[in-house]
Symmetry: C2
Protein backbone atom coordinates (compact mmCIF):
# COMPACT_ATOMS: atom_id res chain seq x y z
CA UNK A 1 0.00 0.00 0.00
CA UNK A 2 2.78 2.38 0.93
CA UNK A 3 4.49 1.74 -2.41
CA UNK A 4 1.29 2.33 -4.36
CA UNK A 5 0.60 5.57 -2.56
CA UNK A 6 4.16 6.71 -3.25
CA UNK A 7 3.80 5.89 -6.94
CA UNK A 8 0.51 7.75 -7.14
CA UNK A 9 2.12 10.78 -5.53
CA UNK A 10 4.98 10.73 -8.03
CA UNK A 11 2.57 10.57 -10.99
CA UNK A 12 0.54 13.45 -9.65
CA UNK A 13 3.55 15.61 -8.96
CA UNK A 14 5.39 14.73 -12.16
CA UNK A 15 8.45 13.55 -10.17
CA UNK A 16 10.92 11.01 -11.62
CA UNK A 17 9.23 7.59 -11.89
CA UNK A 18 6.09 9.15 -13.31
CA UNK A 19 7.65 8.76 -16.77
CA UNK A 20 6.79 5.07 -16.61
CA UNK A 21 3.10 5.92 -16.51
CA UNK A 22 3.28 8.80 -18.91
CA UNK A 23 4.83 6.49 -21.48
CA UNK A 24 1.90 4.11 -21.05
CA UNK A 25 -0.42 7.01 -21.97
CA UNK A 26 1.87 7.82 -24.83
CA UNK A 27 1.66 4.22 -26.06
CA UNK A 28 -2.14 4.38 -26.02
CA UNK A 29 -2.08 7.63 -27.99
CA UNK A 30 0.46 6.17 -30.40
CA UNK A 31 -1.65 3.07 -30.94
CA UNK A 32 -4.72 5.23 -31.52
CA UNK A 33 -2.85 7.34 -34.09
CA UNK A 34 -1.67 4.24 -35.92
CA UNK A 35 -5.14 2.71 -35.83
CA UNK A 36 -6.54 5.92 -37.32
CA UNK A 37 -3.93 5.82 -40.09
CA UNK A 38 -4.92 2.24 -40.94
CA UNK A 39 -8.62 3.15 -41.13
CA UNK A 40 -8.03 6.34 -43.10
CA UNK A 41 -5.81 4.52 -45.60
CA UNK A 42 -8.40 1.76 -45.98
CA UNK A 43 -11.20 4.33 -46.47
CA UNK A 44 -9.23 6.01 -49.27
CA UNK A 45 -8.53 2.66 -50.96
CA UNK A 46 -12.16 1.49 -50.70
CA UNK A 47 -13.43 4.76 -52.17
CA UNK A 48 -10.90 4.73 -54.99
CA UNK A 49 -10.91 1.05 -56.00
CA UNK A 50 -14.07 -0.33 -54.39
CA UNK A 51 -14.32 -2.65 -51.41
CA UNK A 52 -14.07 -5.92 -53.34
CA UNK A 53 -11.08 -4.70 -55.34
CA UNK A 54 -9.10 -3.75 -52.21
CA UNK A 55 -7.21 -6.29 -50.11
CA UNK A 56 -5.68 -6.07 -46.64
CA UNK A 57 -2.37 -6.45 -48.54
CA UNK A 58 -3.09 -3.26 -50.50
CA UNK A 59 -3.70 -1.32 -47.30
CA UNK A 60 -0.53 -2.73 -45.69
CA UNK A 61 1.53 -1.88 -48.78
CA UNK A 62 0.18 1.68 -48.81
CA UNK A 63 1.25 2.12 -45.17
CA UNK A 64 4.58 0.35 -45.67
CA UNK A 65 3.80 -2.22 -43.00
CA UNK A 66 3.24 -5.98 -43.01
CA UNK A 67 -0.16 -7.63 -43.22
CA UNK A 68 0.03 -8.87 -39.57
CA UNK A 69 0.38 -5.23 -38.51
CA UNK A 70 -3.05 -4.51 -39.99
CA UNK A 71 -4.47 -7.58 -38.23
CA UNK A 72 -3.20 -6.04 -35.00
CA UNK A 73 -5.94 -3.42 -35.41
CA UNK A 74 -8.78 -5.29 -37.14
CA UNK A 75 -9.77 -8.94 -37.44
CA UNK A 76 -10.55 -8.93 -41.16
CA UNK A 77 -11.39 -6.76 -44.16
CA UNK A 78 -15.06 -6.63 -43.25
CA UNK A 79 -14.20 -5.20 -39.86
CA UNK A 80 -11.92 -2.70 -41.56
CA UNK A 81 -14.86 -1.50 -43.67
CA UNK A 82 -17.00 -1.33 -40.56
CA UNK A 83 -14.39 0.81 -38.79
CA UNK A 84 -14.37 3.22 -41.75
CA UNK A 85 -18.16 3.36 -41.71
CA UNK A 86 -18.10 3.89 -37.96
CA UNK A 87 -15.47 6.64 -38.16
CA UNK A 88 -17.82 8.62 -40.42
CA UNK A 89 -20.99 7.98 -38.45
CA UNK A 90 -19.13 8.71 -35.22
CA UNK A 91 -18.80 12.35 -36.27
CA UNK A 92 -22.59 12.64 -36.55
CA UNK A 93 -23.11 10.85 -33.22
CA UNK A 94 -20.71 13.36 -31.64
CA UNK A 95 -22.80 16.19 -33.07
CA UNK A 96 -25.90 14.78 -31.36
CA UNK A 97 -23.99 14.65 -28.08
CA UNK A 98 -22.76 18.21 -28.49
CA UNK A 99 -26.23 19.69 -29.02
CA UNK A 100 -28.02 17.46 -26.50
CA UNK A 101 -27.71 19.80 -23.54
CA UNK A 102 -27.68 22.99 -25.56
CA UNK A 103 -30.12 25.86 -24.94
CA UNK A 104 -30.63 26.24 -28.70
CA UNK A 105 -34.06 25.42 -30.07
CA UNK A 106 -34.60 22.24 -32.09
CA UNK A 107 -34.28 24.03 -35.45
CA UNK A 108 -30.86 25.38 -34.48
CA UNK A 109 -29.81 21.98 -33.16
CA UNK A 110 -30.91 20.36 -36.42
CA UNK A 111 -28.81 22.88 -38.37
CA UNK A 112 -25.77 22.10 -36.20
CA UNK A 113 -26.17 18.37 -36.83
CA UNK A 114 -26.58 18.95 -40.57
CA UNK A 115 -23.28 20.85 -40.63
CA UNK A 116 -21.43 17.96 -38.99
CA UNK A 117 -23.26 15.49 -41.24
CA UNK A 118 -22.01 17.38 -44.32
CA UNK A 119 -18.48 17.37 -42.91
CA UNK A 120 -18.59 13.61 -42.29
CA UNK A 121 -20.09 12.69 -45.65
CA UNK A 122 -17.60 14.83 -47.59
CA UNK A 123 -14.70 13.35 -45.59
CA UNK A 124 -12.60 10.37 -46.66
CA UNK A 125 -15.15 8.21 -44.83
CA UNK A 126 -18.15 9.39 -46.90
CA UNK A 127 -17.92 6.58 -49.42
CA UNK A 128 -17.83 3.90 -46.71
CA UNK A 129 -20.72 5.59 -44.88
CA UNK A 130 -23.08 5.07 -47.82
CA UNK A 131 -21.52 2.05 -49.50
CA UNK A 132 -20.86 -0.26 -46.55
CA UNK A 133 -24.30 -1.84 -46.71
CA UNK A 134 -23.99 -2.55 -50.46
CA UNK A 135 -21.00 -4.87 -50.07
CA UNK A 136 -22.50 -8.29 -49.38
CA UNK A 137 -21.64 -8.08 -45.68
CA UNK A 138 -22.18 -11.02 -43.35
CA UNK A 139 -25.57 -11.07 -41.64
CA UNK A 140 -24.00 -10.06 -38.30
CA UNK A 141 -22.09 -7.12 -39.80
CA UNK A 142 -25.08 -6.05 -41.86
CA UNK A 143 -27.12 -5.90 -38.67
CA UNK A 144 -24.51 -3.71 -36.93
CA UNK A 145 -24.40 -1.32 -39.90
CA UNK A 146 -28.18 -1.05 -40.05
CA UNK A 147 -28.41 -0.49 -36.29
CA UNK A 148 -25.96 2.42 -36.40
CA UNK A 149 -27.70 4.01 -39.40
CA UNK A 150 -30.96 3.64 -37.57
CA UNK A 151 -29.47 5.46 -34.55
CA UNK A 152 -28.62 8.42 -36.79
CA UNK A 153 -32.12 8.46 -38.29
CA UNK A 154 -33.69 8.32 -34.84
CA UNK A 155 -31.49 11.17 -33.65
CA UNK A 156 -32.70 13.41 -36.48
CA UNK A 157 -36.29 12.35 -36.05
CA UNK A 158 -36.16 13.14 -32.33
CA UNK A 159 -34.95 16.69 -33.02
CA UNK A 160 -37.73 17.23 -35.62
CA UNK A 161 -40.30 16.00 -33.09
CA UNK A 162 -38.85 18.26 -30.38
CA UNK A 163 -39.11 21.14 -32.85
CA UNK A 164 -42.83 20.50 -33.25
CA UNK A 165 -43.12 20.86 -29.46
CA UNK A 166 -40.86 23.92 -28.98
CA UNK A 167 -42.47 25.60 -32.02
CA UNK A 168 -39.23 25.97 -33.98
CA UNK A 169 -40.19 23.33 -36.58
CA UNK A 170 -43.46 23.02 -38.51
CA UNK A 171 -45.59 20.03 -37.58
CA UNK A 172 -44.89 17.38 -40.24
CA UNK A 173 -44.39 13.67 -40.73
CA UNK A 174 -41.14 13.44 -38.74
CA UNK A 175 -40.27 9.96 -39.97
CA UNK A 176 -40.65 10.74 -43.68
CA UNK A 177 -38.97 14.15 -43.25
CA UNK A 178 -36.02 12.39 -41.59
CA UNK A 179 -35.73 9.97 -44.50
CA UNK A 180 -35.77 12.88 -46.96
CA UNK A 181 -33.16 14.82 -45.01
CA UNK A 182 -30.84 11.86 -44.37
CA UNK A 183 -31.24 10.77 -48.00
CA UNK A 184 -30.26 14.21 -49.31
CA UNK A 185 -27.26 14.26 -46.95
CA UNK A 186 -26.14 10.71 -47.79
CA UNK A 187 -26.46 11.36 -51.50
CA UNK A 188 -23.76 14.03 -51.20
CA UNK A 189 -21.27 11.14 -51.18
CA UNK A 190 -22.39 10.27 -54.71
CA UNK A 191 -21.85 13.68 -56.30
CA UNK A 192 -19.26 15.41 -54.12
CA UNK A 193 -15.80 15.87 -55.61
CA UNK A 194 -13.35 17.54 -53.25
CA UNK A 195 -11.61 19.27 -56.14
CA UNK A 196 -14.62 20.72 -57.94
CA UNK A 197 -17.57 20.95 -55.54
CA UNK A 198 -18.42 23.51 -52.90
CA UNK A 199 -16.90 22.75 -49.47
CA UNK A 200 -18.81 21.01 -46.69
CA UNK A 201 -19.81 24.27 -44.98
CA UNK A 202 -21.24 25.83 -48.16
CA UNK A 203 -23.14 22.66 -49.01
CA UNK A 204 -24.49 22.46 -45.45
CA UNK A 205 -25.61 26.10 -45.50
CA UNK A 206 -27.50 25.66 -48.78
CA UNK A 207 -29.09 22.41 -47.57
CA UNK A 208 -30.13 24.06 -44.30
CA UNK A 209 -31.68 26.97 -46.20
CA UNK A 210 -33.56 24.59 -48.51
CA UNK A 211 -34.86 22.31 -45.76
CA UNK A 212 -35.81 25.15 -43.43
CA UNK A 213 -37.30 27.65 -45.88
CA UNK A 214 -38.56 25.31 -48.62
CA UNK A 215 -38.79 26.08 -52.33
CA UNK A 216 -42.09 27.97 -52.20
CA UNK A 217 -41.59 31.74 -51.80
CA UNK A 218 -42.46 32.98 -48.31
Amino acid sequence: MAVRRAQKKKVASGEPGASLWASADERVREREKKRHAVILTAARAFRKHGYHNTSIDDVARELNVTKPTIYHYVQNKEQLLFECFHAGLGQIMEAFDEVKDSDANARERLSAVMKRYAEAITSEFGWCMVQAENQDLSAAMSKKVRALKSDIDHGIRRIIEEGARDGSIRKCDAKISTFALAGAMNWIAYWYRSDESLGATDIANRFIELFLLGLQPR
Copy 2:
Protein backbone atom coordinates in the same frame (compact mmCIF):
# COMPACT_ATOMS: atom_id res chain seq x y z
CA MET B 1 -49.68 0.89 -107.41
CA ALA B 2 -53.22 -0.36 -107.85
CA VAL B 3 -52.41 -3.40 -105.68
CA ARG B 4 -50.86 -1.31 -102.90
CA ARG B 5 -53.82 1.03 -102.80
CA ALA B 6 -56.13 -1.97 -102.60
CA GLN B 7 -54.12 -3.42 -99.69
CA LYS B 8 -54.16 -0.11 -97.88
CA LYS B 9 -57.91 0.09 -98.28
CA LYS B 10 -58.32 -3.41 -96.88
CA VAL B 11 -56.19 -2.59 -93.81
CA ALA B 12 -58.14 0.58 -93.16
CA SER B 13 -61.49 -1.11 -93.55
CA GLY B 14 -60.54 -4.29 -91.69
CA GLU B 15 -61.47 -6.48 -94.69
CA PRO B 16 -59.91 -9.94 -95.22
CA GLY B 17 -56.19 -9.62 -96.13
CA ALA B 18 -55.63 -6.98 -93.42
CA SER B 19 -54.93 -9.81 -90.97
CA LEU B 20 -51.45 -10.19 -92.49
CA TRP B 21 -50.53 -6.68 -91.38
CA ALA B 22 -52.31 -6.80 -88.10
CA SER B 23 -50.31 -9.88 -87.10
CA ALA B 24 -47.05 -8.00 -87.74
CA ASP B 25 -48.22 -5.36 -85.28
CA GLU B 26 -49.22 -8.10 -82.93
CA ARG B 27 -45.74 -9.64 -83.20
CA VAL B 28 -44.14 -6.34 -82.27
CA ARG B 29 -46.43 -5.97 -79.27
CA GLU B 30 -45.77 -9.58 -78.29
CA ARG B 31 -42.02 -9.07 -78.47
CA GLU B 32 -42.31 -5.89 -76.41
CA LYS B 33 -44.35 -7.71 -73.76
CA LYS B 34 -41.79 -10.52 -73.57
CA ARG B 35 -38.91 -8.06 -73.42
CA HIS B 36 -40.65 -6.28 -70.54
CA ALA B 37 -41.11 -9.61 -68.71
CA VAL B 38 -37.38 -10.33 -69.08
CA ILE B 39 -36.42 -6.93 -67.69
CA LEU B 40 -38.94 -7.04 -64.86
CA THR B 41 -37.81 -10.53 -63.83
CA ALA B 42 -34.17 -9.44 -63.91
CA ALA B 43 -34.95 -6.31 -61.85
CA ARG B 44 -36.63 -8.45 -59.18
CA ALA B 45 -33.70 -10.89 -59.10
CA PHE B 46 -31.08 -8.10 -58.91
CA ARG B 47 -32.95 -6.41 -56.08
CA LYS B 48 -33.41 -9.65 -54.16
CA HIS B 49 -30.03 -11.32 -54.63
CA GLY B 50 -27.76 -8.51 -55.83
CA TYR B 51 -26.37 -7.99 -59.32
CA HIS B 52 -23.25 -10.12 -58.89
CA ASN B 53 -25.19 -13.00 -57.35
CA THR B 54 -27.66 -13.15 -60.25
CA SER B 55 -26.86 -14.89 -63.55
CA ILE B 56 -28.59 -14.80 -66.94
CA ASP B 57 -29.34 -18.48 -66.18
CA ASP B 58 -31.26 -17.48 -63.04
CA VAL B 59 -33.40 -15.04 -65.02
CA ALA B 60 -34.04 -17.66 -67.75
CA ARG B 61 -34.99 -20.27 -65.15
CA GLU B 62 -37.39 -17.87 -63.45
CA LEU B 63 -39.13 -17.24 -66.80
CA ASN B 64 -39.05 -20.92 -67.80
CA VAL B 65 -37.12 -20.17 -70.99
CA THR B 66 -33.65 -21.03 -72.28
CA LYS B 67 -30.61 -18.78 -71.90
CA PRO B 68 -30.52 -17.99 -75.67
CA THR B 69 -34.04 -16.62 -75.34
CA ILE B 70 -32.72 -13.97 -72.93
CA TYR B 71 -29.85 -13.18 -75.32
CA HIS B 72 -32.54 -12.52 -77.93
CA TYR B 73 -33.40 -9.37 -75.94
CA VAL B 74 -30.08 -8.29 -74.41
CA GLN B 75 -26.44 -8.88 -75.28
CA ASN B 76 -25.20 -9.61 -71.77
CA LYS B 77 -25.95 -9.25 -68.06
CA GLU B 78 -24.58 -5.72 -67.96
CA GLN B 79 -27.00 -4.65 -70.65
CA LEU B 80 -29.78 -6.35 -68.73
CA LEU B 81 -28.95 -4.22 -65.69
CA PHE B 82 -28.84 -1.14 -67.88
CA GLU B 83 -32.30 -1.94 -69.30
CA CYS B 84 -33.67 -2.22 -65.75
CA PHE B 85 -32.04 1.09 -64.82
CA HIS B 86 -33.42 2.64 -67.99
CA ALA B 87 -36.93 1.29 -67.40
CA GLY B 88 -37.02 3.15 -64.08
CA LEU B 89 -35.47 6.38 -65.33
CA GLY B 90 -37.74 6.26 -68.39
CA GLN B 91 -40.73 6.89 -66.15
CA ILE B 92 -39.16 10.12 -64.88
CA MET B 93 -38.19 11.19 -68.40
CA GLU B 94 -41.82 10.63 -69.45
CA ALA B 95 -42.94 12.89 -66.60
CA PHE B 96 -40.70 15.69 -67.93
CA ASP B 97 -42.27 15.23 -71.38
CA GLU B 98 -45.78 15.31 -69.94
CA VAL B 99 -45.31 18.60 -68.08
CA LYS B 100 -43.19 20.28 -70.76
CA ASP B 101 -46.04 21.97 -72.59
CA SER B 102 -48.28 22.32 -69.58
CA ASP B 103 -49.75 25.67 -68.47
CA ALA B 104 -48.93 24.84 -64.85
CA ASN B 105 -46.30 26.96 -63.11
CA ALA B 106 -42.86 25.51 -62.38
CA ARG B 107 -43.73 24.59 -58.78
CA GLU B 108 -46.70 22.53 -59.94
CA ARG B 109 -44.61 20.91 -62.67
CA LEU B 110 -41.94 20.03 -60.10
CA SER B 111 -44.59 18.41 -57.90
CA ALA B 112 -45.85 16.36 -60.87
CA VAL B 113 -42.32 15.13 -61.63
CA MET B 114 -41.73 14.27 -57.95
CA LYS B 115 -44.88 12.11 -57.97
CA ARG B 116 -43.67 10.12 -60.95
CA TYR B 117 -40.17 9.94 -59.45
CA ALA B 118 -41.62 8.39 -56.28
CA GLU B 119 -43.59 5.90 -58.38
CA ALA B 120 -40.48 4.89 -60.34
CA ILE B 121 -38.20 4.58 -57.31
CA THR B 122 -40.73 2.48 -55.36
CA SER B 123 -41.28 0.23 -58.41
CA GLU B 124 -39.44 -3.03 -59.08
CA PHE B 125 -36.85 -0.94 -60.92
CA GLY B 126 -35.98 1.26 -57.91
CA TRP B 127 -33.07 -0.88 -56.76
CA CYS B 128 -31.47 -0.90 -60.23
CA MET B 129 -32.01 2.87 -60.54
CA VAL B 130 -29.78 3.58 -57.55
CA GLN B 131 -27.52 0.54 -57.55
CA ALA B 132 -26.55 0.27 -61.23
CA GLU B 133 -23.57 2.58 -60.85
CA ASN B 134 -22.22 0.64 -57.84
CA GLN B 135 -21.71 -2.61 -59.77
CA ASP B 136 -18.26 -2.30 -61.33
CA LEU B 137 -19.71 -1.54 -64.77
CA SER B 138 -17.52 -1.25 -67.84
CA ALA B 139 -16.33 2.28 -68.58
CA ALA B 140 -18.70 2.57 -71.54
CA MET B 141 -21.73 1.42 -69.56
CA SER B 142 -20.77 3.58 -66.60
CA LYS B 143 -20.73 6.58 -68.92
CA LYS B 144 -24.21 5.78 -70.25
CA VAL B 145 -25.59 5.42 -66.73
CA ARG B 146 -24.04 8.70 -65.60
CA ALA B 147 -25.31 10.52 -68.69
CA LEU B 148 -28.90 9.42 -68.08
CA LYS B 149 -28.74 10.33 -64.38
CA SER B 150 -27.35 13.69 -65.38
CA ASP B 151 -30.33 14.19 -67.75
CA ILE B 152 -32.71 13.67 -64.83
CA ASP B 153 -30.77 16.11 -62.65
CA HIS B 154 -30.75 18.70 -65.41
CA GLY B 155 -34.49 18.30 -65.93
CA ILE B 156 -35.16 19.05 -62.26
CA ARG B 157 -32.70 21.91 -62.19
CA ARG B 158 -34.31 23.49 -65.25
CA ILE B 159 -37.74 23.47 -63.57
CA ILE B 160 -36.30 25.04 -60.39
CA GLU B 161 -34.66 27.76 -62.50
CA GLU B 162 -37.90 28.35 -64.40
CA GLY B 163 -39.64 28.67 -61.04
CA ALA B 164 -37.28 31.47 -60.04
CA ARG B 165 -38.38 33.29 -63.23
CA ASP B 166 -42.14 32.65 -63.04
CA GLY B 167 -42.09 33.45 -59.30
CA SER B 168 -43.45 30.09 -58.18
CA ILE B 169 -40.12 28.97 -56.63
CA ARG B 170 -37.90 30.91 -54.24
CA LYS B 171 -34.56 32.01 -55.68
CA CYS B 172 -31.99 29.47 -54.47
CA ASP B 173 -28.94 27.52 -55.57
CA ALA B 174 -30.73 25.42 -58.21
CA LYS B 175 -27.86 22.97 -58.64
CA ILE B 176 -27.48 22.16 -54.94
CA SER B 177 -31.26 22.12 -54.42
CA THR B 178 -31.52 19.60 -57.27
CA PHE B 179 -28.89 17.37 -55.66
CA ALA B 180 -30.78 17.52 -52.34
CA LEU B 181 -34.10 16.74 -53.97
CA ALA B 182 -32.81 13.93 -56.22
CA GLY B 183 -30.83 12.51 -53.28
CA ALA B 184 -33.89 12.41 -51.05
CA MET B 185 -35.90 10.76 -53.86
CA ASN B 186 -33.19 8.22 -54.71
CA TRP B 187 -32.71 7.32 -51.07
CA ILE B 188 -36.32 6.08 -50.98
CA ALA B 189 -35.01 2.93 -52.69
CA TYR B 190 -32.92 2.23 -49.58
CA TRP B 191 -35.70 2.39 -47.01
CA TYR B 192 -38.88 1.65 -48.93
CA ARG B 193 -40.54 -1.72 -48.23
CA SER B 194 -43.66 -2.32 -50.30
CA ASP B 195 -45.27 -4.27 -47.47
CA GLU B 196 -44.67 -1.87 -44.60
CA SER B 197 -44.06 1.63 -45.94
CA LEU B 198 -46.50 4.28 -47.14
CA GLY B 199 -47.34 4.01 -50.85
CA ALA B 200 -45.64 6.06 -53.55
CA THR B 201 -48.38 8.73 -53.60
CA ASP B 202 -48.29 9.31 -49.83
CA ILE B 203 -44.50 9.47 -49.81
CA ALA B 204 -44.54 11.90 -52.75
CA ASN B 205 -47.12 14.13 -51.07
CA ARG B 206 -45.09 14.34 -47.85
CA PHE B 207 -41.87 15.00 -49.78
CA ILE B 208 -43.57 17.73 -51.84
CA GLU B 209 -44.88 19.37 -48.66
CA LEU B 210 -41.43 19.25 -47.05
CA PHE B 211 -39.52 20.58 -50.07
CA LEU B 212 -42.07 23.30 -50.85
CA LEU B 213 -42.92 24.53 -47.35
CA GLY B 214 -39.69 23.73 -45.50
CA LEU B 215 -39.36 22.79 -41.84
CA GLN B 216 -39.48 26.34 -40.44
CA PRO B 217 -43.01 27.40 -39.50
CA ARG B 218 -44.49 29.92 -41.94
